[in-house]
Amino acid sequence: MSRARVPLASSFLALARVAAILLPGVLPAGGLAAQQDVPGAVVIVIGRDPVTPVPTLTRSSADLDVANQLFLRLARLAPGLRTWGDSGFVPELARRWSRRDSVTLAFDLDARARWHDGRPVVANDVVLTLDRARNPATGGRHAAQLSEIASVKAEGSRRVVVTFRRSYAEQLYDVVFPVPPLPAHLVGAIPAESLEASPFVRQPVGNGPYRWVRSVPGQLVELEAVRGHFLGTPGVRRVVFRIVPDADARLNLLLSGDGDAQEAVSPPVANLERIRAAGHLREVPVASGLLGYVLFNFADPADSARARPHPILGDPRVRRALVRALDRTRMVRSVFGPYAAVPEGPTSQLWWIRSLAPAPLAPDTAAARQLLADAGWRDTDGDGVLDRDGRPLRLRLNVPAPSPPRRLIALQMQEQLRPLGVQLEVNVVEGGVFMQRRNAGDFDLDFGGAVQEPSPSGIVNSWSCANAGKPDGNVGRYCDPGVDSLVSLARFTGGDPAPYWREALARIQRDAPAIFLYAPATAFAVSTRYRNATLRPDSPWGDLYRWSVDPARALPRDRPGR
């Protein structure tokens, strides 16, 4: 059998050579001119289909990856990612903005900005988009965040005036970041609730440096550069997002040279070593919104009303003991390698408030044992598992199957907790089942993962009393009114919000609502043949229009025949 493979492979090699001979035939006659001006292409390998790559509808990272190329924001975040105040932003669609008073902001649109169908970007586009996004009935996931906006008005065709219900720290952020403008002349006729099923979503018309060409579901999305775009003509003319669900197959494509860049190379660390060893790739760490944590259920999953406190985890001493028992740094380093970082509190690397969090507690098994003993847990029957009133200290940890980092860390937790007499049952379940259990509050421990947006006000959704028990909200039912009021102060103070955030994070550490495990930088992989290939934390491929291909290292796909 192995013998049969050789001639087969070599005959296809021969075919490939035929192709290589044929290909130059369809290219424009090369020469020095072509040498200097390489059209360039980039194949970005991603894990899933962009389903709704349109602002107000974006849900997944894949949606955002594509939407961010098609649609510009009024302004983007400056590198510090400081979301409060008016100074941490860089103009994009808005040439400038000014503050009229503490509740009024005015934006002037760049006159050069055009939709891909040639129409200018006008104030009415912004009005329509923000009005839709902040309407709770049609707004999608940003409606709650934008609820402080009182009105959005056009003054002429290029000026937008936004008024707010009250003064707060993230007014400018709320206008410019979450929802980029949609073209009112195309979208206005489509009712908001039927936008998702409309042809516009399948053939979006944006204003960004790249325009939509085509998509083949499950395989690829192709974009092409907009010549003469006001931000500059992109140096790489074609962008193909290639969809490959399997993590190994993704990496293989990159290593074999068929792909040029990959978002978030999946752990383990060995994959990074392969990227480094490949020679034609480099790894680029990018701060990410990724946050991994094991959530404690404050309610008893055996009680269908979820009114009774959890029989084991209701006791803060047990929660703290579990946090202290684990060597989090060790676990996270074994999975994420050099990019590991253990957060103290629900703060990913995108949140500027992470520097205000208390230092993570060092692992201390003696202290953990003491806490458990104080809470009344002893091994009375000698089976190696602690018990109290006849109930063993056994906890069920739900882990989603598609996530290798969470699976690997869960297995380590199980081993680290065993000597303490804590029996952890690791349930690896399919993604859909995992989410259903999570939203129903049907778990003891839940290995959650979140991708945070840059604004720390996201803390309200996942950790406030008001959202306790809401699906996709605070599913662990943690509730500390003290934290809620501190967060509220931080968000609505006229002055520096930092002290309030610091106190809120310290309280969360004391309450121990979860074991916060990782908030890593994610490692991207990019071919070394690109010049100026920078990546941004707020929108990883946001600088793609500045990339170009090194002519000396151009591949056939950088010079397509046409």
Binding site: L23, V51, R59, G140, R141, G218, Q219, G257, R562
Partner: protein, 333 residues
């Protein structure tokens, strides 16, 4: 195989109508079975949409209404079946695309891979099996039998992973994944595009052929051995006919039945035989679509694939019966 194929020629129409009715019933039952199983399995079809970014209650309610998930299961099935009668397979929850379009987009890849594998397994397996049968117990027979049985025992996805790691990644001889170079100009000459697809096809096709060829070889070897002992074949040889004509002209014709039956039974593999291998090589076929849809509880897609597969299976059985009758001189008699 459970041959109803001995029907007299006059009753062929009635037989065909009966098989057709039976086939429709089978497919309908399979659809009901798949729907019931899906409803019994827990899981949230909207979960995958959020991907770590929470859906708001409003967005969730909107999506549930759009896909009819807020209605009772029986009503959902009724709605699905009614739409089906109008030729509408519904819309995928995970991708928002029409199911019919998704299936049609995936079908060519599945047919290409499955067809190539069938061609290779039968094209190579039949002569090898005949070769074995002509020299039973010889070194060649034992070597071929041992090798093919060993290959048969290897998990296909494991072989695929190893081949991808060696051939595609280490030696860079062939593409690691996918069915075509996405950057190849769609207007490129036909030959260039075909060569590109061909290069992508090699590894998955070879993987599947290696692990499945043993079945064809064994069927062919057994059938051929009994055929070589038939009086008519012995007589042909006694008449002094050239060996080639004895083997292929007389014996092989008699040994074709079981192999052809196997071909019919393998027809459904054209559609879903390659789930794991499709995963490993990211081959955009129906198997991968189906497995992902089951995992994501994308009900409309699962139902669509079930229909296609069930229909292919039924058709495969009918084709097997027909071919069996056509190939076996005794049944044609």
């Amino acid at each position: 195989m459970l041959s109803r194929g001995t029907a007299p020629a006059a009753d062929v129409t009635r037989w065909a109508a009966g098989r057709l009715a039976q086939g429709v019933l089978t497919v309908a039952l399979a659809a009901v079975l798949a729907f019931v199983l899906m409803r019994l399995a827990p899981g949230d079809p909207l979960a995958a949409l959020g991907e770590d970014r929470p859906l708001t209650a409003e967005a969730r309610a909107q999506l549930e209404a759009r896909f009819g998930l807020d209605r009772p299961a029986a009503a959902q099935f009724a709605a699905w079946a009614t739409a089906l009668l109008r030729g509408d397979l519904g819309t995928s929850i995970a991708t928002g695309q029409p199911v019919a379009g998704l299936l049609l987009a995936r079908l060519p890849a599945s047919l290409l891979l499955g067809g190539t594998v069938l061609l290779l397994t039968f094209g190579l397996g039949i002569p090898l099996g005949v070769l074995q049968a002509r020299h039973p117990g010889s070194l060649v027979d034992r070597l071929l039998g041992g090798l093919s049985l060993t290959a048969w025992s290897v998990p296909a996805f494991w072989l695929g992973l190893v081949l991808a790691a060696l051939v595609a990644v280490r030696w860079r001889l062939l593409p690691a994944a996918g069915m075509a170079d996405p950057l190849l100009d769609p207007a490129a000459p036909w030959a260039v595009r075909a060569a590109d697809v061909g290069r992508h096809l090699v590894l998955p096709a070879v993987t599947l052929t290696v692990v499945s060829i043993a079945a064809v070889m064994r069927y062919q070897r057994a059938a051929m051995r009994s055929a070589l002992a038939l009086p008519s074949v012995l007589a042909a040889r006694a008449r002094g006919l050239p060996e080639r004509r004895v083997v292929w002209g007389h014996a092989w014709r008699n040994a074709l039945g079981p192999v052809i039956a196997l071909l019919g039974l393998w027809l459904p593999l054209l559609v879903t035989g390659a789930v794991f291998v499709e995963y490993v090589f990211d081959w955009p076929g129906l198997g991968q679509l189906a497995a992902a849809a089951v995992a994501a509880r994308d009900y409309p897609v699962v139902m669509g694939v079930t229909l296609v597969v069930a229909a292919t299976t039924v058709a495969g059985n009918v084709v097997a019966d027909l071919l069996h009758v056509a190939a076996d001189p005794r049944l044609r008699g």
